[in-house]
Amino acid sequence: MEATNATPVKYDMDVVRWFTIAAIIFGVVGTFIGVYVASELAWPFLNFDIPEITFGRLRPLHTNAVIFAFGGNVLFATGYYIVQRTGATKLWSNKLAWFHFWGWQAIIICAVITLPMGMSQGKEYAELPWWVDIMIAVVWLSYGLNYVMTNAIRKTSHMYVSNWFTMGMIVMITYLHVVNSLAIPVDWATSYSIYSGVQDAMIQWWWGHNAVGFYLTGGFLGIMYYFIPKQSGRPVFSYRLSVLHFWTLTFGYVWLGAHHLQYTALPDWTGSLGAAISLAMIIPSWGGAMNGMMTLSGAWDKLRTDYILRFLVTAMAFYAMSTFDGPVMAIKSVNALSHYTDWTVGHVHAGALGWMSMISFGALYHMVKKLWNTEMYSDRLVNVHFWIALIGATTYVVAMWVSGIMQGLMWRDYDEYGTLTYTFVESVSAMHPYYVMRAVGGAIFNLGTWIMLFNVVMTVRQASASRSANPVAARA
């Protein structure tokens, strides 16, 4: 496996560039739809009585856009980038990578058409019609095959931990997507899950939480373990800890889904097991977060001047916070207060805006500079984006935490006669200021993505102009 010389490797980076640009565009689009649906909750007239843009139809479009269009393109761009550079090899099949790129974008277009039309399987994060599920399986497997085979032909003896995280994600998401999506088609818009009742709920949240665990956590941890060392110029603080992080996450995460179903028809012990393992997962999660942060040992001063590094390190802080918040919410007594409230929405967005998006923005900025062999058009705008993203995410999350806890307390409050103190409508009315605050926080965050898009477009144009002016230097 060892290479015998230091011959420069010609990587397949065109497809990585396209995935990168697609990710940045869908970051803008996905969060914009999120702002719109948040605004609909604050000001319902924004529905305009048009069924296609009502909350119920646009909400799954928002979640699919940010998770699969933005998050997916980030994962694929970084995955193909990391696997080539750490393995010192080209992709096993560049053609298959292009099939993957166009196939994934076609799936996103199908989502944009079908979800506003009201076609939904009603399974959270798996709403798309059955025939799109088949497309997802085919395109995902093409990615998996290409990724595994690229690792197999690597020139280095060791397979870097980022690739382990990505391959763990590929294997588990294949399994989860296929099992969760098993359904009997009736026509092209309708199908029925092969599971019923409590089994359907269990399978749904086995998928739902593991999509969080292996896709939104595992996949993005692969990004963290490559880009924090790269951007800081420091080795991983403890490689042993990273290996432990991978295996404990892989063994542990699959148990957690039942914590979404406390106090339901599911057997009581499954919820208890889900809560117990959730609490146990704090250990590897915090170990990983500390590992990421401590990688900066000896380079903390770089945070003053390196704005990309700020994104990456702030992401680790949100990762640590979310992986504490989640297990606490899984405890039955806390869940009795938090479940079905906006606290859950706050928790999810601490992860999505603070962890997943921040680590993505940092990795994307890093890659843009490398892929186009240039400096950013404006480092100052990167810094502006960082602060806007941080303020937006914090505003959003704090609004939902306060709103959620207040909601839970209002729902459970009763007077000396045992009668509920508040009607449900009163609790909805009390939420209004927080829903406005949430929409404002989201809008601030969305503004940051527009700044990033502008900065990256100008950077690419700058690089193209430089290449035209000096083609020899550009090839060097």
Partner: protein, 66 residues
């Protein structure tokens, strides 16, 4: 103890498979802990901690410093 009571006679094949995979996953996780924390393996693991930095020209493709 009633909470922990199990009707073993009613266990189906799927139940036993579930038990098997649960215990196997637990044992495998313990094995990983032993492997990672074994002092003999420390150098082997930590020698890879700068692998991400080796693709910038400072190191060759084998991971050795030029």
């Amino acid at each position: 103890m009633d909470y922990l009571h199990t009707d073993w006679a009613a266990m189906s094949r799927n139940d036993w498979l579930g038990v098997f995979f649960t215990v196997a996953a637990f044992v495998a996780m313990i094995a990983v802990y032993i492997m990672v924390f074994n002092p003999k393996n420390k150098d082997a693991f930590d020698s890879q901690s700068d692998m991400a930095l080796r693709d910038e020209g400072e190191y060759n493709n084998s991971g050795d410093k030029k």
